[in-house]
Amino acid sequence: MLVRPTKVETPQAPPPSISYKPPLSAEVKTRVDEIVQQRKALHDGETVVYAAGCGINCGGGGGWDSGCLFKVHTKNGVVTAVEGDDTVNQNSPREDNNIDSVMKVALQRRPCVRGRAWKGDIYSPSRVTFPMKRLGKRGEGKFVRISWDEALTTVANKIVEIRDKYGPYSIFSVYDSYPAPVTYANAGFGGWATASFEATAFAAQYMTGGYSWTSYAAAEGPDAFNSKLIVLQGFDPTSSIFMVFTQYYYALAHEKGIPVIVIDPRYTSAAEVFGDQWIPIRPGTDVAFLLAVANVLFKEDLYDKDYVSKFVEPVGFSKWKDYVLGNSAGPDGAIDRTPEWAEKICGVPSETIREFARLYAKSKPTHWNVSWSFARLAYGENPARAAAALQAMTGNIGISGGGGEFAGGWVARGAYRGVSLDWGRTAATYKAPTLFMNWKWADMVLLREKFESGELSKEQYHSMIGNPATNPTPNAKMLFTSKNIMNQNININKQRQAMNKLDFIVATTIHMTPTAKMADIVLPVADTMFEDYFFAGGPLYSPKLVNPPGEAKAKLWIDTKLAERLGVLDKFMPKYTSDDNFDAMIEDVYKAGFEAWAKANGVNLSWDEYKVKPIIRVEASAPYSVPLQDYIQKGKAFSTSSGKLEIYSKYLAETDLTKTKYGGPIAPMPVYEAPWDGFFDPQVNKYPLTCMTPHGVYRIHSVQDDNPSLRNETYRHAIWLSVSDAKVRGIKDGDMVRVFNDVGEMVIPAYVTSKIVPGTACLYQGAWFEPTASGVDRRGAPNALTHDKPNPSGAWPFHTNVEVEKF
């Protein structure tokens, strides 16, 4: 029975009190939920896939630099967001809270800021999306869209035309590889000398007998904790990110109380975060510091005689000892290389050098990472070899906690086990010769006239471009480039002249770089996330996630279609049937490669499982692997003629190097030679600031310079000036300044800081050259200011002297 309640008069409830802070009123709670739902909706309907990257010049996999893993979100055919690796230690952002995972290197492969910004780069405004041909002058950037058919047919016809007219040594690439089909068409030649590590590899070649870097580069991460002293000389792993964990292990080693000394012209982030102490040094003077350390070790009898007698070739060692002690002459005479001698050159007080040497001698093992950077200058082979000689005389090569002498950082176990892909190719019968030093390519083109007119003999011409006397003579007419070579190679203006002499330039490119602007045909290429990739080791795989923008195509597709037009498809890509099957064909090859790799390495994982989580972690454990351990711990003979570490090279001493690819003499052992374009080059009377051009945090070489998520967003590209140098020129931070020398000029902002040695400037490499009509760079490409004077060892001279004035 329904009883009507007695109506009770209740007092009117007060109006609902709205509380915007806890405890929230119901109304606000509802609104807050709506706001949270709105935020969530941003990623509704996305597909999430793991992928390795960035693929361009950094690339995952450990074998090639970083080895990061991305978790990529895509929707409606575009990449929408990038998260980092969460396949281990999920929800544990500070992974060292789980020290076990640190000791096993079972860590997240977190991308650095460049990887985090990858979306900005792949969709940047300068992305090339259609094949194009040039309309305006070279460099003007005027192009018109054409079809793939027209582009490829034009390129194929040019290959045949130029080969038939000028012979096989007319088609080339600089620090790059031209499309393989050119080789199948019996043409092409290449160059030698690598920008990154030529001097360090040179040191490795003459001291250990093997030109290589990977096998010497790095120990497993936790081996850092076995060091008693860590020295980082010219090495900033927070910007030169070599293997994703390297900076993390340095940070942890520092926190464990292992002393870390940073020797660098700049107070870097590494000096701040990992360093106990910064020792400022003038750029390009490291070899003076190193020789003085050796001098103290010899004089105070502090080196490891037992190790030296076992592993170092004795005759050369005593020659070097004589040189260091001033008993024999170097290029600048017989000088006792004391700390007092060195301090006037490198600017480090002699007391500091001496005490450093003593500490070093008693801190075994010492990890002394000199990186590659301090050897990227004239005579760069000297510091590279001197650092290794020191680590040899103190017995720090090939032992746990030591190393670091030939480069690199720390890696994870299994990093170098790569997957090989079988495309079913028939090997080309034509073998492309190496006919020039990469960074001398502009001279190869520009001096050709003088050679033809007889002004230069064949021998002279060859010697000036890094080509052995007995080799054929190149006749460079057609350039293939897939890198921003003009920007990254020394002396941009000379290269522009050389490019204007060429008959034809083909750029296979992701972005409209300064180099691509010089091309006759521009072919838009896909990159990571738009095509399948295996990275060098690991292995890490990056599947094709979405279609590339516009008509950009995988490099392999471009090569395949070129092969088709050259009539060599059956040899180059016999598995090709049609464009529709292209992606499936690639996946088949990758799948087979992976399955063979998995079988050989005892990895029990199917391709389909691997594809969705394309990373394989092999846990590390003590004893951790260290570079060159087999030679020291197991007594394997080095590949040198003596079977030992050689500080002095008989070959370099006794050979007429002018007839070889080097084209000139190279000191047989590490000695002090003041580099040209350096701190003591008399040209400083006109251009008083020695400018370094190191790696920055926000570019992988020149990659990502046009990324709106980075450029003028997270960083300002400015030239570093010390306070005293700024003051004398009336320059304040933020002022626009003119930076110039005899080869070029630019106008960019100044960054005035106490973090750099006086007399020095610093301009991070990789900014894209953007000249005005009169050739003034508005964007700050360091190579607008670098000279290309030959350096026989092949080390790229990236330092230069400049003057700076208020604009």
Partner: protein, 248 residues
């Protein structure tokens, strides 16, 4: 204020390289384009003079304060929610938040432009991710693992209870949900005589002297501008200048 759980951030200044991976990750995840909408700001600035110079870094998202003075000043356009203690802007009421922004001593509320009625936005503590049992994107992004996130009680148990850091406003004002570890002192592993070094570095024999007295190097006044953070910039241009890194 009771009956809610406060989550917060841990920032280890001694590990921060100011690379801004966290900043980029924040914008990437939250769909923010390049420009002044910097929900997370990382400052990098120098103190001291050559050769005794230090880099200081600051990680400044919204610290989702326990005493959110911005909420009090927002006229109902902002809330402090209860599940995580996140301070949120109501996007429907985001055009009138200059007063709230002025109230925040950390400058956490940012604007799309310098127009007076420009739309405001700020760090949401990634509540959308928290709801999916994921961490705020910034803390997952740090290459040196300088960041952590969690319930404030848990963070205090792990990292102590310091909520103050040099160059940030005193924590007593707003009670930020943050724990900090300041960077440590440098030491001389080997002796280094700075005065002697300044004399040595002035000379470049036989070429001309580089400078004439130590103060040419050490008196930085007026020349070095990035010697402090700028939590409360006057405009978007100043915000950009002080949040740009110069390692590139």
């Amino acid at each position: 204020m009771a009956n809610y759980t406060q989550y917060g951030f841990f920032f280890d200044q001694s590990r921060c390289t100011a690379c801004q991976a966290c900043v980029v990750a924040c914008k990437d995840w939250n769909g923010l384009s390049a420009g002044p909408e910097k929900w997370l700001r990382v400052f990098s600035y120098e103190k001291g003079a050559f050769p005794n110079v230090r880099i200081h870094t600051l990680f400044v998202p919204c610290f989702h304060c326990e005493n959110p003075v911005c909420v009090d000043a927002a006229d109902g356009a902002m809330y402090k929610e209860e599940k995580y203690g996140a301070v949120l802007i109501d996007p429907a009421k985001a055009n009138d938040l200059r007063k709230a922004a002025a109230a925040c001593p950390y400058g956490a509320i940012v604007f799309q432009s310098d127009a007076f009625d420009a739309e405001a936005s700020k760090c949401t503590m990634c509540v959308d991710r928290l709801e999916q049992n994921l961490l705020p994107i910034c803390v997952t992004a740090c290459p040196t693992r300088a960041l952590d996130f969690g319930k404030m009680d848990d963070l205090r148990a792990k990292y102590g209870s310091v909520s103050d850091l040099e160059d940030l406003p005193p924590s007593s004002i707003t009670k930020p949900a943050a724990i900090f570890k300041a960077h440590g002192q440098k030491k001389q592993v080997v002796p280094y005589d700075a005065a002697k070094a300044l004399l040595l570095l002035a000379k470049r024999d036989p070429l001309p002297q580089l400078y004439y007295g130590p103060t040419d190097v050490t008196d930085t006044q007026g020349y070095v501008k990035k010697s402090k953070p700028m939590l409360k910039p006057d405009n978007t241009e100043e915000l950009q200048y002080f949040t740009e890194n110069d390692n590139s």
